[in-house]
């Protein structure tokens, strides 16, 4: 039967810290990303390899994309936004690689949760757990990313507007301003939830979709859906970073009210 789990599964524990399969994926990705970043920063002026040129091209295009939104703050905000973009993009695509989700480890676990009536029985069942799971197909990762974006928005708002920034939320100028301030405050916190669920829902739904199609028709049928998911992964990475850019630029803008 299909193996679909909405929460990541624990592979092993590291000094009491449970290490889940999506954590392994995100750590692998972060290390590779870091190594490539070090290589790239050394090679960018000198190397003539196609990879370096391609990455420069991609970063340039991304910069042009963010420029109309972030305007004169582009140089300051671009590292944050591009990190969001590339981390999300690569974790989305990592989840689509062959072998991710299909390489499993099998373990025998006692059937203790279901049959509490007979705790002494040595009944075990075999549970197979995928070793790697796409990092963004895990709600923990996406909530972390959402919190990060939220904190960045608030900090940059304070940095550019100082205490003026709070005026958007707490205002006693008029009853209406007071009420809209409360609404602004709620909508500020709902950004975390909406960031997290949008990314998680899209990516996890994509994995479920591919798994279900591959289960119904084993040969070739999931290929168009795989291409769709490559596209969706790109769009979601773009949407996440673009929304962060829009929110930051609206939080740092001087508003005349």
């Amino acid at each position: 039967m299909l193996h679909i789990s909405i929460k990541p599964e624990v592979i092993f524990t590291f000094y009491g810290l449970p290490v889940t399969n999506s954590m392994i994926a995100s750590i692998v990705l972060t290390v590779l990303f870091l190594l490539f970043g070090i290589y790239f920063s050394g090679a960018v002026g000198r190397s003539k390899s196609k990879l370096v040129f391609f990455v420069r091209f991609a970063i340039g295009k991304l910069y042009d994309l963010f420029k109309p939104v972030t305007k004169e703050k582009s140089r300051e905000l671009f590292p944050l936004l591009a990190s969001f973009f590339f981390f999300i993009l690569l974790s989305n695509w990592l989840g689509l690689l062959p072998g991710v989700g299909s390489i499993v480890i099998r373990r025998e676990v006692p059937v203790s949760e279901e049959t509490i009536d007979e705790p002494e029985s040595a009944a075990t069942r075999i549970v197979s757990t995928p070793i790697i799971r796409g990092a963004t197909a895990d709600l923990n990762t996406t909530i972390a990313l959402g919190l990060f974006a939220f904190v960045a928005i608030q900090l940059l708002g304070f940095k550019y507007l100082g205490w003026q920034y709070l005026k958007k939320f707490i205002s006693v100028a008029s009853p209406i301003a007071f009420f809209t301030g409360i609404l602004e405050l709620i909508s500020e916190f709902s950004k975390i939830v909406s960031f997290a669920f949008r990314l998680f829902g899209n990516i996890f739904a994509g994995e479920v979709l591919i798994a279900v199609i591959a289960f119904l028709i084993p040969v070739l049928a999931s290929f168009p859906f795989l291409m769709l998911e490559v596209f969706v992964g790109f769009i979601q990475a773009l949407v996440f970073s673009m929304l962060t850019a829009v929110f930051i630029s609206s939080a740092t803008a001087e508003h005349h009210a």
């Binding site: 789990s5 949008r198 829902g201 949407v239």
Partner: protein
Amino acid sequence: MDVESAKQLATALAIGLGAIGPGIGIGLIGGKAIEALGRNPEAESSIRATMILAIAFAEAIAIYALVISLILKFT
């Protein structure tokens, strides 16, 4: 109706009803974007960027319904 069949129904209804609104919304957004493109073809890149953002907002609502039904289905 027992709990299991109620759960199955709830799964289907959650995503089925939840997809109606975003479907209409995305259709409207796409149609209006094409209308804007017809009036002002030079603004293609900014129209496209805004359209994708707006579609992401509308689609997020369908995704909430999807998450609900996934939770119902797999827990």
